[in-house]
Amino acid sequence: MGMTIAEKIIARAAKMESVKANDICTVELDYLMSNDGTTHITVDKYNSLKHPRIADVSKLVWIIDHNLPCDSVKTAASHKKMRDFARANGIKFYEGEGVCHQVMMENHVRPGQLIFGADSHTCAYGALGAFGTGVGNTDYLYAMVTGTSWVLVPETLRFNLHGQLPEGVYARDLILTIIGQISASGATYKAMEFGGEGLKTLDMAARMSICNLCVEAGAKTALMEVDEITMDYLKEHGREPAAVFAPDEDAVYSEVYDIDLSSIKPIVAKPHFVDNVCDAKDAAGIHIDEAFLGSCNNGRIEDLRVGAEIIKGRKVNPGVRFLVVPASRAVYEQAMKEGLMEIFMEAGAIVMNPNCSVCWGSCQGVIGEGETLISTGTRNFKGRAGHRESFVYLASAATVTASAIMGEIATADMIK
């Protein structure tokens, strides 16, 4: 019987010929990523073990990205605990280099790998054909100590992409549309696999944006077929695939969706769920206090280019705080070279250091009582960006930038 990409990656990690959905397998992990959201807890638990050991330190990557620069004595203590442990144990450690998932994509992830991340958006790595999935810190600790873990082989939802996105419509609109269609729990425990000739029209940034958000449909992971675009990205970053897997023709899917990219429109997700979507135009006119262009979802150079092109020669609306936060140092430096930071600063934006920023809802850009944020971040749950009585709309880089200019939700074609 044929296998999906997810099944093939798990089979490789389990050193088995084949696996099928709903099998439970013991797997060896290729990477274990953890960030400052929870690593201090992992360290505490590790230190409470009777025989603490790290199975393979070369597989650990620890990244400080959530509260940076540090905003409280509490997080400072967590950071110190994490930093000291990484240093003492020789763990690969990043601080100030960007959002964990972007740092992983730029520096570590290879097609065919199975990666645990102590962060739900680890599913982003599917853009590079790797099985990334989020775990809690207990699962993480077990994997850290043993080098292995168990996984339930997920069923796979197959998405065949056809055609091309219209001008002014982005991957963000596509994935919000899909989540709206299948609901916030539509892919729970499942893998979302993307392929089809339409995939070839999407660059790596778009693919990362799509895979990153699949957890918002409940997915365990997201996976995309590896093609020349993937290979070019790897080459550019000096890496080779671990293994390239395509799904078998007779692979078994629990559901197959055919998506016509040309039918996608600018979308926003309204408070307080990611699947609460509507046409961006239907949300137009809603007053905003803050706009956020950044995050592991849409903080890449391609996103900043989209925003910069829209805001060039214009000003941020005086009633809006427009935060622009590159996803990584590499993105920041590229944006400087291309003159994008100049454009944003000239327009009156607040340009912050690469980090999770208001997507994480603490540390910077936090919104207050009754305030409304439009964001390229990952989530719009109640209270996610600050005060429990605040409102978050999710949208593409283009819609967020247009809204920052207008002071209310607007699509780029609505700018006067």
């Binding site: 940076l68 620069p69 400072a76 110190k80 100030g96 607040i350 250091n353 207050g368």
Partner: protein, 415 residues
């Protein structure tokens, strides 16, 4: 009898001669209100029964401590600031353009000879262009908003005269730290400091700002530099007769005169936890550094960033050391972007934030924890200022800070 600079400024403001000890009522040329104090200023203003500010054109509101917000209640101050500006027709509102003390002169408000009050102790900064500026509390600010006036006691003056050429790695920060060390934290309380001599005449306005900014750390009411051609260029003006006359007369009466030879200065740091506890870096021994902060109204200007970049160019800061760079203003950020300074700093591994008070005000921007050591270019190393009371804060010049980031240990630029 001759007059000191501060006597001349106050006399011009009140229209009669004054002497130290006189209590006079002055008119404000500008007032500076910062976001963190705005909720209190506005509530006192209303409580006092005022409806309209005396002159909206002379009021400048600057959001710099709490933007971008790090805690959920921070935006309250932001909205109170914006709403008050709108209600009162105050056009001089800066929502995210940088630190108040940088903007007051940079954005063209304060000019030589002005009398300016601000709700922040480092308001002394504007003495860099020869203005009398000083910090006040929010109740007094509320009073000025209603009346345009405030009483002041004319201060006596300590003249600080510096002559000669500074050694290569000594910056104006090293000078002012040494002076504060010599004066002690209370040594200039109620007094004006007047900086003179060819060393300061040869300094940029930016370097002078570092010194006036920190005058308060010796307790001073204000710090003053005589306006000159550089001041005029910086302010985009030609000095009028009054402004050109703003220097201490030869027969002015000074409470004390401190004479320094520029050649005698060495790179120093203020060590935990007093600004007046100043020690030459060469005597500090082996101290590991966890974090370096380059920024603030003291040392977040273009020349400061460039001085650090010169040291860091083509190099990487030490592993596990964080270097946080927070430019003083949007203009500084843009200039540092345009001339490649930010690129150098980023390539060296620095974390570059949006212009704001950042770590200096101790609410975000790189808070530290027990046992950590930070070398910082700002103005205060008080207990608990940047995190717990067990954080060790060393105040230093941008060059010494950059050198320490590179080495991962406290050091000055020559090592």
């Amino acid at each position: 009898m001759g007059h000191t600079m501060i006597e001349k400024i106050i006399a011009h403001n009140v229209g009669r001669e004054v002497k130290p000890g006189d209590i006079v009522t002055v008119n404000s040329d500008y007032v500076m209100l910062d976001d963190i104090m705005m909720p209190f200023i506005v509530s006192k203003f209303k409580e006092m029964g005022f409806k309209k500010v005396w002159d909206p054109g002379k009021v400048v509101i600057i959001c710099d401590h709490l933007v971008p917000a790090s805690q959920v209640d921070d935006t309250r101050a932001y909205h109170i600031s914006c709403d008050f500006a709108e209600e009162q027709g105050i056009g001089n509102l800066h929502r995210s353009d940088g630190i108040c003390h940088q903007l007051m002169t940079e954005a063209g408000y304060v000019k030589p000879g002005h009398v300016v009050f601000g709700t922040d102790s480092h308001t002394t900064t504007y003495g860099c262009v020869g203005a009398f500026s000083t910090g006040i509390g929010y109740t007094e600010m509320a009073g000025i908003l209603g009346t345009g006036q405030l009483w002041v006691r004319v201060p006596s003056t300590i003249k600080v005269n510096i002559t000669g050429k500074l050694p290569e790695n000594v910056m104006s920060k090293d000078i002012i730290l040494r002076i504060i060390g010599d004066l002690t934290a209370a040594g200039a309380t109620y007094k004006a400091l007047e900086f003179t001599g060819d060393t300061v005449e040869n300094m940029s306005v930016a370097s002078r700002m570092t010194m006036t900014n920190m005058a308060i750390e010796a307790g001073a009411k204000c710090g003053l530099f005589a306006p000159d051609a550089k001041t005029a260029e910086y302010c985009g003006i030609e000095l009028d007769e009054f402004q050109a006359s703003l220097k201490g007369d030869e027969d002015a009466v000074y409470e004390a005169v401190m004479n320094y030879k520029a050649e005698d200065f060495v790179p120093v740091m203020a060590v935990p936890s007093n600004v007046d506890h100043v020690v030459p870096i060469s005597e500090l021994g082996d101290v590991n550094v966890d974090q370096v902060f380059l920024g603030s109204c003291t040392n977040g200007r273009l020349e400061d960033l460039m001085a650090a970049a010169e040291i860091l160019k083509g190099k990487k800061i030490a592993p596990y050391v964080k270097m946080i760079v927070t430019p003083a203003s949007r203009k500084v950020y843009k200039e540092a972007l345009a001339n490649g300074t930010l690129e150098i700093l980023s390539a060296a591994g620095a974390i570059i934030t949006h212009p704001s008070c950042g770590l200096c005000c101790g609410r975000t921007g790189g808070i530290l924890t027990d046992g950590e050591v930070v070398v910082a270019t700002n103005n205060r190393n008080f207990l608990g200022r940047m995190g717990t009371s067990k954080v060790n804060i060393y105040l230093a010049s941008p060059k010494s800070a950059a050198a320490s980031a590179l080495a991962g240990k406290i050091c000055s630029a020559e090592i």
